[in-house]
Symmetry: C2
Subunit: 325 residues, 2 copies
């Protein structure tokens, strides 16, 4: 599937649809663009941040979840999620009068589990040391034959939803947009949205945890490479085994590169965003700023936009991170 | 001095001034409006937040400081500030090629002292148990006869600068705008800006620390009442002895009331903003949300905007606050 195969769908989505109360552009909050002057000074880079921390449910995932939930016929949607997609899908289903069942690792941040429940979603915890999330989803799918089993990232409707962020960023004509990469749903969407808008100049660069660098290895080898197991990075939104097929189809030619970010730089990026940008960022969201710490020379003299994907972080984790260094 | 006495100046400021590179509206960042759904659920109030945490220098004070610095002839400006005004004035002076000398209590948050220095300001620490900030300013004024001694709040140019935030909020036609009150510079500016825009409906309500409730007592008594000493509230931006004269002239008829917020509610508000709005708020900035915790029945069924004035908080203080409760 090419980038352009998605464009028709995206253009349709981005047409004015005032007669449809469930249109994506009416439901999402536009991203929050920040010019963090003190972070610029510290890093010596002409930096912008596109923060999705104030998006509904606190992360970009609402864009994907809402677009999926509004487009499918099923009234019940079942998915595996480390948290933010589950929270987003729960809230999207609530808005659209549908039901969400969310399979979550027992080790997910408690704030994310609580939030899924608060938004009306049903949480099915799974001990990933005993069975995979996919196995638990398969069991539940048998119990709920009426439900749609949704992927948090490997679905054109998810990518189309995330493309709305690329569409918003395209007119700014940044040299580089740096995007956290887990399953590739957001990065593929941003490539698609920027290109669909007619911007062929902005480079999209992934930021991936070094200890779960399957996407970087995939780009190098020209095929999807899988981690042996879910990498235990602090960036819990990037604990994915591999890129999705639909995402890979876009990313293999759409990404200008991937920065592999060590755990220490993810942690430093959370603290820097707190200290120098007044921005509460979750570790996964900080991957893009972490990429600047890992390869500063790569971005010198360039006009860079870091996508901060979300802010839903456990208070105890956050207290530890901002106390370090 | 009436509210309307300021309008001419504010209108002049808000005219397009593309030929003036130092115009206020070109220098400030518009406020960030947030609809915090999970905070709404927790509080049961139709709540918006106008966050100045991403304003240049991390607080609304940049609006005031820039407007003052651009309008005065003096090349050196001397002021006393618990931190945010100093940081803002330092950066404003840097942008306008002027010099800033900032008298700060030795007990100010270290991040605020560091930030003033980083923005090119000169910090003059003072031990407020030995001499007042005003006394130290008077000493320095003798040493620097060429300097303007600026008030952080009691100055029409400061109020005019802060009025730009009221001007931004006016078209939203909120029932209530809740504003932290220290010296009264922001609250007076917001009253002025909202009224100058032609909005006579939105009520402006102050939020003041209970242990430094001079403004509430002033409203009750119909004259400026002073605290005996700087109140040691955690809301360090509200450690003022009294309202300023220029501010009182606007606030005595312009405020619909003041909520007196106990320290525990200020702390709870910082934590709630973190947990349920992904918003890093400093204690002074949280006074407005704290007012909702103190008098929830007052705001039931109303369309409320809480002004969050800034986000510059010492990491150790913040860690303690988000760990509590």
């Amino acid at each position: 599937m090419s980038v352009h195969a998605h464009e028709a769908a995206y253009y349709k989505m981005s047409e004015p649809m005032t007669s449809k109360p469930d249109a994506l552009e009416d439901a999402i909050r536009p991203t929050t663009l920040i010019e963090p002057r003190r972070l610029r000074t510290a890093l010596g880079i002409d930096l912008h941040i596109a923060s999705e921390t104030f998006q509904h449910t606190g992360s970009f995932k609402f864009r994907a979840a809402y677009n999926l939930a509004r487009l499918v016929a099923e009234e019940t949607i079942l998915t595996a999620s480390s948290g933010n997609f589950g929270q987003a899908l729960a809230y999207a289903c609530k808005l659209l009068n549908k039901n969400a069942i969310i399979v979550m690792p027992e080790t997910s941040a408690q704030v994310k589990i609580d939030a899924v429940r608060e938004h009306g979603g049903r949480v099915e915890p799974v001990d990933v040391t005993v069975k995979s999330r996919a196995e638990r989803v398969a069991e539940l799918a048998k119990e709920h034959p009426e439900a749609l089993v949704a992927s948090a990232y490997d679905d054109p409707r998810v990518i189309d939803g995330n493309a709305s962020l690329g569409w918003e960023l395209a007119p700014h004509d940044f040299d580089d947009v740096i995007v956290p990469v887990g399953g590739g749903g957001l990065s593929a969407g941003i490539v698609q949205g920027i290109r669909a808008h007619g911007n062929d100049r902005t480079q999209v660069i992934g930021a991936e945890p070094l200890i779960g660098n399957d996407a970087a290895r995939s780009l190098r080898e020209g095929r999807i490479v899988r981690n042996e197991r879910e990498p235990q990075t602090i960036a819990d939104g990037a604990r994915t085994v591999s890129l999705g097929e639909h995402n890979w189809a876009i990313l293999k030619d759409g990404l200008a590169g991937i920065v592999e970010v060590p755990e220490a730089h993810i942690e430093d990026a959370v603290r820097l965003a707190f200290l120098r940008a007044n921005l509460k960022v979750e570790p996964t969201g900080a991957l893009s700023i972490g990429a600047l710490l890992t390869e500063p020379e790569r971005f010198e003299g360039r006009n860079v936009c870091c996508v901060v994907t979300g802010g839903n972080v456990d208070p105890e984790v956050y207290r530890r991170l901002i106390g370090g260094g």
